[in-house]
């Protein structure tokens, strides 16, 4: 093999990578919460809505879960300017990731709604709880506990999915790695390092999510 490894150059760029990691987390974080809100609306639409609303929500979910996120972003990135909407790269990517996540989060939250068993509601009613109390003390905690693992998993998926932003010149982790590599020509070392950063990032995120899950939601801790 005609290649001498020079990790020194790569390690020098660690600070820049760590800065880029912040952008990765930002992207994942906002896409997650945006998607969660859309998901809540979508899940509500699919569970409680009338026929038209349900079908619209279903169409949204089916479309965004059966097509690649990359292409969804391509459509926004190159398509929106054609109708006169000009968005900065970051926003465009964020919008795409949010819409994509929203579809999956719709299904997750819908499963949560459906998981509330009739018996629990009846038990709460016989205890004399009003609808509001039922929701607060029985339904919401149950749903939260049920959907926490898939939600946490979704967040981790988003951290990895955010790397797509590199395609659109957003300087998150992967994008920064590409930039630095084009300057230093140390592609293998840079990408090995970036892989390491992603592993550490997802590891820390997993730990925190498991911790939060255990303490706040009393979900059994698991390394996702």
């Amino acid at each position: 093999m005609n290649y001498t490894f020079q990790f020194g150059v790569a390690l020098e760029s660690l600070p820049a990578l760590l800065k880029a990691a912040i952008l990765t987390v930002e992207l994942s974080f906002f896409a997650f919460w945006g998607g969660a809100l859309i998901g809540l609306a979508g899940a509500a639409a699919k569970t409680f809505g009338g026929r038209v609303v349900r079908q619209l929500a279903q169409a949204y979910v089916v479309f965004f879960t059966n097509t690649p996120a990359l292409l969804q972003i391509y459509l926004l990135y190159y398509g929106l300017p054609e109708v006169g909407i000009l968005l900065p790269s970051f926003t465009c990517v964020l919008l795409g990731l949010t819409l994509n996540a929203g579809a999956y989060l719709t299904e997750i939250q819908r499963a949560g709604f459906l998981s509330v068993r009739q018996t629990e509601i009846e038990a709460a009613e016989t205890l004399g709880m009003s609808l509001w109390l039922q929701i607060r003390f029985v339904i919401v905690p149950h749903i939260a506990k049920t959907i926490y693992p898939p939600l946490a998993n979704m967040f981790l998926i988003l951290i990895l999915g955010s790397s797509m932003a590199a395609v659109f010149s957003v300087d998150e982790l992967t994008g920064t790695a590409i930039n630095i590599s084009t300057e230093t020509y140390r592609w293998l070392e840079m990408f090995t390092l970036v892989a390491g950063v992603y592993i550490v990032l997802t590891f820390i995120a997993s730990l925190m999510l498991a911790f939060v899950g255990k303490r706040i939601f009393r979900v059994k801790a698991r390394m996702f």
């Binding site: 005609n2 089916v62 097509t67 190159y78 054609e82 990895l160 955010s162 790397s163 293998l188």
Partner: protein, 228 residues
């Protein structure tokens, strides 16, 4: 906007463009079949290695587990670039298609091995122990007891994974493989409206993925009672 699209449609679907798109779609499909096929085969191998008992095989077990845990925590784009640069350093004439397929297989194996492992572990331990006490070899136990009972647990996630795989192939466009997404970029660069081009490509991906999603959902319903 709409007028522009309507004007472009005849040229867009003209013979050579259409062929170009269809060939790209075939590349995506081929990569998917290879990636899923090899993915499950090698995924099975990883699970087998991972469960080999005895102190002697400990290093092998550790390597297998580490591989899975590492490759599930790295974005595909990063894996792809790593495979690209590594292979090009070793063998500069490797085709992009081969590199992309290797890259996507390496990702695939990490995920399929987890699906298979979950399937195997769903078979009650006592059945495995009963077979072991009857002097069944590991391979005989897998073939006669574990695998036949794992299908209901493996198939639904397997189909879901296949759909996810098709979507992952879109990223190989970034290293220049002429598959569906790359074809889209080319068409867009030729001047066609992005809405038209990417809209069409999205629909083509949908046509590839949706039937698999439905098949998976159908299988899940049918296999559910047997799972009990």
């Amino acid at each position: 906007m709409v007028e522009r699209i309507l004007n472009e449609i005849p040229r867009f679907f003209e013979y050579y463009s259409a062929i170009f798109l269809l060939k790209a779609m075939a590349t995506t499909l081929l990569m998917t079949l290879l990636g899923v096929g090899l993915g499950f085969l090698l995924g099975f191998l990883i699970v087998y290695l991972r469960q080999t008992p005895g102190m002697f095989w400990l290093p092998v077990r550790i390597i297998a587990i580490t591989y899975v845990e590492v490759f599930r925590r790295i974005p595909f784009l990063v894996i792809l670039y790593l495979v690209l640069f590594f292979i090009q350093a070793v063998s500069p004439n490797a085709s992009l298609f081969t590199i992309a397929t290797i890259g996507i297989c390496m990702l695939s194996i990490a995920y399929t091995s987890e699906i298979i492992r979950a399937g195997f572990e769903s078979v009650p331990r006592q059945q495995v122990e009963a077979a072991s006490a009857m002097n069944f070899s590991r391979w005989k136990i897998l073939r006669n007891v574990i695998v036949p009972q794992s299908w209901p647990v493996i198939l639904p996630p397997a189909f879901a994974y296949m759909v996810s795989f098709i979507k992952d192939t879109a990223l190989v466009s970034q290293i220049g493989v002429v598959e569906l997404t790359f074809a889209g970029k080319v068409m867009n660069n030729r001047g066609y409206s992005a809405l038209l081009v990417y809209g069409t490509i999205l629909i083509l991906y949908f046509i590839l993925s949706y039937p698999l999603t439905r098949l998976g959902a159908h299988l899940e319903k049918r296999l559910a009672p047997i799972k009990n």
